[in-house]
C-alpha cells in the first residue's frame, strides 16, 4: 500500500469541538477560560495597560459575564513612561465599564529604594518587583495577562494556566500538563496562577477580531505624524524617559505603534495605516514580528524573555 486517499467520516464522529469560523472558536475558548477563573479562584485580577492585547482581554471579559459587570478589578503596573494617549484611553475604559483600577507606580518603588533605575533608562524590567509586591499585597490568586504564544518562543511553551511559585517565578519544569479544556487552578498558599486566555491567538487574529468587533484602541496604534529619532534601529519618541542624545537627529514621520510598552524601549514603525483594515493589510505583509520590530528589551539576548519570565515578569 502506498498513499491512501482520505475520505470523510460519517457525522457523529467524536472529536475536538471546533466552532465554524476560527475567530468565534478563539472567542469561545477565551470566554471559557475567563469563566473558569471566575468559578475557581477567590481573588482574580486583570493586568490592564491600555494596550491592544489587554483591551481585547477586557472586551472578552465583558462579553463573558454580560449582562453582569466584570467581577474582577484591573491592575496597571505604570512605569511612568507611558504614552499619554494610552493612559487617557485606560481611564476611559475603566469609567466606561465601571471597573476598579489599581495602579502600581514603578516610581514609588524607585523612591523607596526597592528597585533602581537602570543606566539605559529603560523601566520595562523594573515592573516585576512592583507587580509581585502588588499581587502579594492584594492576595491576588489569579492574574490574567494578554500574553500570546506566537509572540516569542519562550512564550510558545507557556500554559494557559501558568503556576507561579511563592516568589512569583515561572519554573518551566514544574508546569502541569494541560489536558482537554480541563484547567487545573489548584495552588498552595502564597502561589498564584497567571492565566493567558489569548494563548492561541496570533497578532493577525487579534487585528481581525478588533475589526470584526469594532473594538476601540488608543490612537497611537494607527498611523499619525510624530517627531521621532533613530536609536538601535528603532524610531523612538521624546518623553519623560528622555529624548534624543547627541548626534540623534529628530525627524517628523508618519508612524504607528505595533506594541505599546515603556516609552523608552518601544519603537514606532513607519506606516500609513490609518484604519484597522490598513493595519491588517500591513501586518499581513510584514516580514518582522511585532516584538522584533518594536521592542529593544527582547533583543538583549537569545533568552531575554525566558529570563524575565523566570523572574516573575508577565
Amino acid at each position: 500500500m502506498t498513499a491512501v486517499v482520505s475520505r470523510s467520516r460519517p457525522a457523529g464522529d467524536v472529536g475536538v469541538p471546533a466552532v465554524g469560523d476560527h475567530l468565534t472558536a478563539l472567542e469561545s475558548e477565551a470566554i471559557h477560560i475567563i469563566r473558569e477563573v471566575a468559578g475557581e479562584f477567590d481573588r482574580p485580577v486583570i493586568l490592564f495597560s491600555g494596550g491592544k492585547d489587554s483591551t481585547l482581554l477586557l472586551h472578552l471579559a465583558v462579553k463573558a459575564f454580560w449582562p453582569a459587570p466584570v467581577p474582577f478589578p484591573l491592575l496597571h503596573v505604570d512605569t511612568g513612561h507611558n504614552f499619554p494617549e494610552v493612559l487617557q484611553f485606560r481611564d476611559k475604559m475603566v469609567a466606561k465599564h465601571n471597573l476598579r483600577l489599581i495602579v502600581a507606580e514603578v516610581q514609588r518603588w524607585i523612591d523607596e529604594g526597592k528597585v533602581a533605575e537602570r543606566p539605559d533608562g529603560t523601566r520595562n524590567p523594573l515592573q516585576t518587583v512592583p507587580l509581585l509586591d502588588t499581587i502579594a499585597e492584594h492576595r491576588f490568586d489569579a492574574v490574567f495577562g494578554g500574553g500570546r504564544r506566537d509572540e516569542e518562543r519562550a512564550r510558545a511553551k507557556e500554559r494557559i494556566f501558568s503556576l507561579r511559585n511563592a516568589f512569583g517565578q515561572w519554573e518551566p519544569r514544574r508546569q502541569r500538563p494541560e489536558l482537554w479544556n480541563l484547567y487545573n487552578g489548584r495552588h498552595r498558599p502564597g502561589e498564584h496562577v497567571r492565566v493567558f486566555p489569548l494563548s492561541n491567538w496570533t497578532e493577525l487574529d487579534v487585528w481581525h477580531y478588533i475589526a470584526r468587533e469594532n473594538i476601540e484602541l488608543p490612537s497611537i496604534y494607527y498611523a499619525h505624524e510624530r517627531e521621532v529619532f533613530r536609536r538601535d534601529g528603532m524610531w523612538l519618541t521624546a518623553g519623560p524617559w528622555g529624548g534624543p542624545r547627541e548626534g540623534e537627529q529628530v525627524v517628523r514621520k508618519m508612524v504607528r505603534y505595533r506594541t505599546v510598552g515603556d516609552g523608552s524601549c518601544t519603537g514606532a514603525v513607519e506606516s500609513h495605516a490609518t484604519t484597522v483594515e490598513d493595519v491588517i493589510a500591513e501586518v499581513t505583509a510584514s516580514r518582522l514580528t511585532e516584538r522584533g520590530a518594536t521592542r529593544a528589551d527582547d533583543r538583549l539576548s537569545e533568552a531575554a524573555m525566558e529570563d524575565r519570565k523566570r523572574e516573575g515578569y508577565f
Partner: protein, 426 residues
C-alpha cells in the same frame, strides 16, 4: 472564514521533528525576517553552514543548549484555507505525558519516523496513545527519505507496517496517510517533490489543508457543564439568572427540554444568550449563557443535558488512566477528580490492569502505575458525577486526577474501558 485545525506532532529524538515543524513554518512564510536572522546568527555561532530550522522551535535555553525539545510548544500558521494550531510534542523523556497533552486537543496527529529506521517501539507507543485519546486521523511522515535514495520500496514497507499497526488499534486505512518527506530539503512538505514521482498522494501541507476535520460533535446528545451563574442584580437586570458555560457536545435550541444533573430536575431552554444577542441555535464548542424557563437551584459543577439521552450519574467509575507524575499510583490513593466543572474527592480502589502498548496486551492487577504507564482502574467518588464513556463523548468522558496536597495534575482519566476498543481482548 477559514476553519481551525488542531494538530499534534510526535516522534522520537533525531527523527527531525523540530526540523519538519520549522520547515512547515518557514515554507508557509510563517517565519518572519527577524526570527530567521536570529536563527541564522545562532546557527553560525554553532558552526553550522545552513540555518538550523529546529532552532525556530526549541524555545528554552536548556533545549537549545542540549539540542533537544523538552516541553510541548504551540505553533501557529495559516494558509488561505485553514488556520493551524500545532502542538509540538517531544518524544524522548516523559513521552506519554507530552503526547497525551498534545493529543487531548488534536484533530490529527503527525507521527515522524526516520526512513532508515522505519517503525520503532516508540512509534507504536505513540500510535497507541493517540488511539486511546481518540485522535481520529494520523499522518505518518516518513522523514529523511533522501537518505534512503528516495526509495519507493522502503517507503511502502514502512507505510504498510505502520498502517497494519494502526488498523490493529482501531483505525481504518482511510484515516492513515503516509507521506515520504525530507524535512531538511523540503520534499513533500509544502510542495510535491519531483524526486518521489512514484508517490501519488498529497504533500503534507495540502493534506492538512484538505483533510476532513472530525467535525464538531454536533449530533451527539447535549452536554453543557455549568461554569458560572450570572446574576447581575442591577437596576436594568434585577431578576436575570443565566447559566454560563461552553457546550461540550450536541446542539441546543430555545424550547429544548433539558435535565439538570445530578439533581435530575427538568426544565426548558428559554433563551441562549450571548453579549451579541440571543441565538437561535448553538453547537459544541460555543460559549453561551442559558436561561431556563423554571427557577431551579443550578450551580457551578452541575451538568445540563439532553432529556432523551442523559449521561449516567454514578460514584463508581471504571476508567483508563494515563499516569503523568513521578509519584507512582498505588491502590487506595486519595485524589481529587476534576470532571467538567466539578472537582470532587475520590479514592482509587483498584488497579485492574496495566496496558503494554508494545505488545498491545494487558497485565492484570499491577501493583503500581508509574510515570507514562497507562492502566485501567476503579475509582469511587465522594459525590456522584454525570458521566459518559470517553469513546462516545470525549468531553464528558474525560477527567483530571489531581494530587490534593500539591495541586499537581497526576493523570488524564478516560471513563469506560477504552483499552479493549484498542483491539485488546479482555
Amino acid at each position: 472564514m477559514s476553519s481551525l485545525l488542531r494538530l499534534a506532532t510526535a516522534g522520537s529524538v533525531d527523527d527531525g521533528k523540530s526540523t519538519l515543524v520549522g520547515r512547515l513554518l518557514y515554507d508557509t512564510k510563517s517565519v518572519l525576517a527577524d526570527q530567521l536572522d536570529a536563527v541564522t546568527r545562532a546557527s553560525v555561532d554553532r558552526g553550522l553552514s545552513t540555518p538550523d530550522l529546529s532552532l525556530l522551535v526549541d524555545g528554552l535555553r536548556s533545549e537549545r543548549e542540549q539540542g533537544i525539545t523538552i516541553d510541548v510548544a504551540y505553533r501557529y500558521f495559516a494558509t488561505p484555507k485553514r488556520k493551524f494550531v500545532l502542538a509540538d510534542t517531544p518524544g524522548h523523556v516523559q513521552y506519554t505525558r507530552n503526547t497525551v497533552t498534545g493529543a487531548s486537543t488534536a484533530h490529527l496527529a503527525v507521527l515522524l519516523v526516520d526512513a532508515r529506521n522505519g517503525v520503532i517501539e516508540q512509534t507504536r507507543r505513540h500510535a497507541a496513545v493517540l488511539a486511546l485519546l481518540g485522535v481520529r486521523r494520523l499522518v505518518l511522515a516518513v522523514n529523511k527519505i533522501d537518505l534512503v535514495g528516495y526509495d519507493e520500496a522502503r517507503f511502502t514497507a514502512i507505510a504498510d507496517e505502520f498502517t497494519a499497526h494502526a488498523v490493529a488499534l482501531g483505525y481504518s486505512p482511510e484515516e492513515v496517510q503516509a507521506i515520504p518527506v525530507s524535512a531538511l530539503h523540503g520534499d513533500n512538505v509544502v510542495q510535491k517533490s519531483g524526486r518521489t514521482p512514484w508517490y501519488r498522494g498529497p504533500a503534507l501541507l495540502e493534506h492538512l489543508e484538505t483533510v476532513p476535520v472530525a467535525d464538531n460533535p454536533h449530533d451527539e446528545p447535549l452536554r453543557f457543564p455549568v461554569q458560572y451563574v450570572i446574576r447581575p442584580r442591577t437596576a436594568e437586570h434585577p431578576d436575570y439568572r443565566g447559566y454560563a458555560g461552553q457546550i461540550a457536545s450536541g446542539t441546543i435550541r430555545p424550547g429544548d427540554e433539558v435535565l439538570v444533573l445530578p439533581s435530575g430536575l427538568r426544565s426548558r431552554v428559554e433563551r441562549i444568550d450571548t453579549a451579541d444577542g440571543p441565538l437561535d441555535e448553538a453547537s459544541a464548542g460555543r460559549s453561551v449563557t442559558l436561561v431556563l424557563a423554571d427557577d431551579l437551584d443550578v450551580a457551578r459543577g452541575d451538568l445540563i443535558a439532553a432529556v432523551d439521552a442523559p449521561p449516567r450519574v454514578t460514584g463508581e467509575l471504571s476508567a483508563a488512566l494515563c499516569w503523568l507524575a513521578e509519584k507512582p499510583l498505588t491502590p487506595g490513593a486519595r485524589v481529587l477528580v476534576k470532571h467538567g466543572t466539578k472537582t470532587v474527592q475520590a479514592l482509587v480502589e483498584r488497579l485492574d490492569a496495566r496496558f503494554d502498548e508494545q505488545r498491545l496486551a494487558t497485565i492484570e492487577a499491577p501493583e503500581t502505575l508509574r510515570l507514562n504507564d497507562i492502566g485501567q482502574v476503579a475509582v469511587r467518588t465522594a459525590e456522584p458525577l454525570p458521566v459518559d464513556d470517553y469513546t462516545t463523548a470525549h468531553r464528558n468522558g474525560a477527567f483530571l486526577v489531581i494530587d490534593p496536597p500539591t495541586g499537581d495534575t497526576l493523570a488524564a482519566g478516560l471513563i469506560g474501558a477504552p483499552l479493549p476498543s484498542l483491539g485488546v481482548g479482555r
